[in-house]
Symmetry: C2
Subunit: 355 residues, 2 copies
């Protein structure tokens, strides 16, 4: 299927969080409908044509979902392989399975990136406490031990600062295959949000500069403080990743800016929190760009027309919403979630500086 989807076509989205919610709203702007598949409570279902609430192990629900849609995409990359195998036999999945497989596993991801000639932090696979001790010897300390799968927002990670941390760090992994990443001394962290269309064309947004706290993204600022050469390197390496994966859709690529050049931290095969600024900084934002790609439409104008600071509203940050709603040049985005909890992403705000 390579023709553009017609008006009224249905895009299936695996995952029903805020990313799915914003994808569905963007799809509506282009005349499409969305069907959300989500095992748990789903903010995206509030703004979708239909919602399936079922586990990823429910074969009948997956079959019915696939039968009701024209194409499948995802806002959540940790969908079980068995579900993807079934869905892929029934409908096209965009971005493709390879992008998912690569990004679902930190070792596959780093191997893919290194094979492409892209630098990452030094790393070693760890499958036992003895492996961990050897990896610590090889990479030095401090270092970070992470499960190879399912970690996000700082979960499934332990920082080691001395050899005495080794036993507890390994216990924290609960025997899951893991990877030790050597410490990288970086000046800043940036990300490139880029899209690749079904026709192979690539469009990258201007890189954003990210600040994390406790493993959670707090702010993204555009433009990032990068030299012209760094900016160009960041965009070009992202395009290489997309093309190597024959990728269709939007990807987020997180990079460390170091004195030795750019290192790839991780890739996310979906719209990305650090791309939310595009809602107020570009004519076509990352959500619409993803839907265009998945639907086989041409990519749109993603050039940046304003400086933006995106700030996540996490937990009790929502108490500031009444004041933010009144602020000039400030767009507030709320996800319709229930009570705020520490670490829970409740919304975000884009502050625009038109200079």
């Amino acid at each position: 299927m390579t023709d553009p989807l017609p008006q009224g076509a249905i895009i299936g989205i695996l995952g029903g969080g805020q990313l799915g919610r914003m994808l569905s709203a963007a799809a509506s702007r282009l005349g499409f409908r969305c069907h959300i598949y989500e095992p748990f409570a789903a903010p995206a279902g509030d703004v979708a044509h239909s919602l399936t609430t079922a586990p990823y192990e429910d074969e009948a629900a997956l079959r019915a979902f696939a039968a009701s849609v024209d194409v499948i995409t995802y806002e959540f990359e940790n969908v079980p392989t068995s579900a993807l195998d079934l869905l892929e036999s029934l409908r096209p999945i965009r971005p493709n399975r390879r992008a998912l497989a690569v990004s679902q596993d930190r070792i596959s991801e780093k191997t893919f990136l290194n094979d492409l000639g892209l630098a990452t932090a030094p790393w070693r696979a760890v499958n036992s406490e003895a492996d961990l001790a050897a990896a610590v010897t090889a990479l030095g300390l401090p270092a970070i031990l992470k499960t190879t799968r399912l970690g996000y927002d700082g979960k499934g990670q332990v920082k080691l600062t001395s050899a005495a941390d080794i036993p507890a760090a390994w216990r924290a992994m609960a025997d899951a295959p893991s990877v030790l990443e050597g410490f990288v001394s970086f000046d800043r962290e940036v990300s490139v949000i880029a899209a690749r269309g079904l026709d192979g064309s690539v469009s990258a947004y201007d890189p954003g500069e990210n600040v994390h706290r406790e493993g959670i993204l707090r702010t993204t600022t555009v433009p990032a403080r990068l030299s012209p050469g760094q900016r160009s390197d960041a965009v070009l390496l992202t395009a290489r990743v997309l093309t190597a994966l024959d990728y269709v859709g939007v990807m987020g690529v997180e990079l460390f800016v170091t004195p030795q050049g750019l290192l790839v931290n991780e890739i996310a095969p979906r719209v990305h929190n650090s791309g939310h600024w595009t809602q107020q900084g570009c004519t076509v934002d990352q959500f619409e760009q993803h839907i265009r790609a998945v639907a086989g439409l041409p990519l749109g104008d993603g050039s940046r027309y304003a400086d933006v600071v995106m700030e996540n509203l996490i937990g009790e940050d929502v108490a500031r919403v009444p004041e933010l709603l009144r602020a000039r040049d400030t767009a507030v985005h709320l996800y319709g979630k229930g009570a705020p909890r520490p670490g829970r992403k409740m919304g975000h705000v884009n502050r625009v500086n038109r200079g």
Copy 2:
């Protein structure tokens, strides 16, 4: 009920066309859910939490709808009085009934405006062919005969250019109460989209200049060609209308710019086609501004930051969509309707000029 609606609250929308669709998407950005009530096919249902498909005469459906929502608004002003009476007894309706009553009937509307000291085209009520003949004598020709209710997009209107047109014109009204409007020689037509919050604050968007063809809006251009005095007059008279009606929500006020000053053509108690440019020209667009007002939130920053030309995509205009999707500084909005028909609004496009 004057407290702001909480996250996850449900806003009921009467009418399920493209205006409801864009309202629902805007509501999702603020963390609200929408329930659409529409007797016919409803593009808005594709992007809403729930959809009731039932006639406005179905009392049980209306009661269930009201019971499921926190507040009721509308994107379509010709909802039958009986339905509104029932709904109003169950939930707040914003904007209020008076705004609807005034705008549903051209004679009520003109009387309200004239009583407020605002100029309109000269007019006479017409309830018979004899009335029409007398009105033609009083106002001269050319003139336009319109039904007092239910006309839109040029429907229910006949232009008279000679006395010989009187019998056919009256027959075309099918005995419906009508109004003859005298011909106005105007330089241009502009509209002001403005919002009034639950706290009484008013925020007006910069006036747009409208071009109609065959009674259907084709383009809105901002800024409109107005002198500073005309711009200020347009905004101030709009604020007077909103305040006089104790209005809550967004209203569109269409004005004729004449050598003698501004005449009010009509008021629409809802988001308005000529306000679609705000999606690409303002931080908070008319859809979000309406939802903010209806939900009791503070109005947002509606200042214009770019020049925009909004063009409706009508009927076969959609054939240009592939090219428009590729254009720079161009945002395409499609409504997900089926086959294009002559005169059917299929979408719109906002072309931005950032100067």
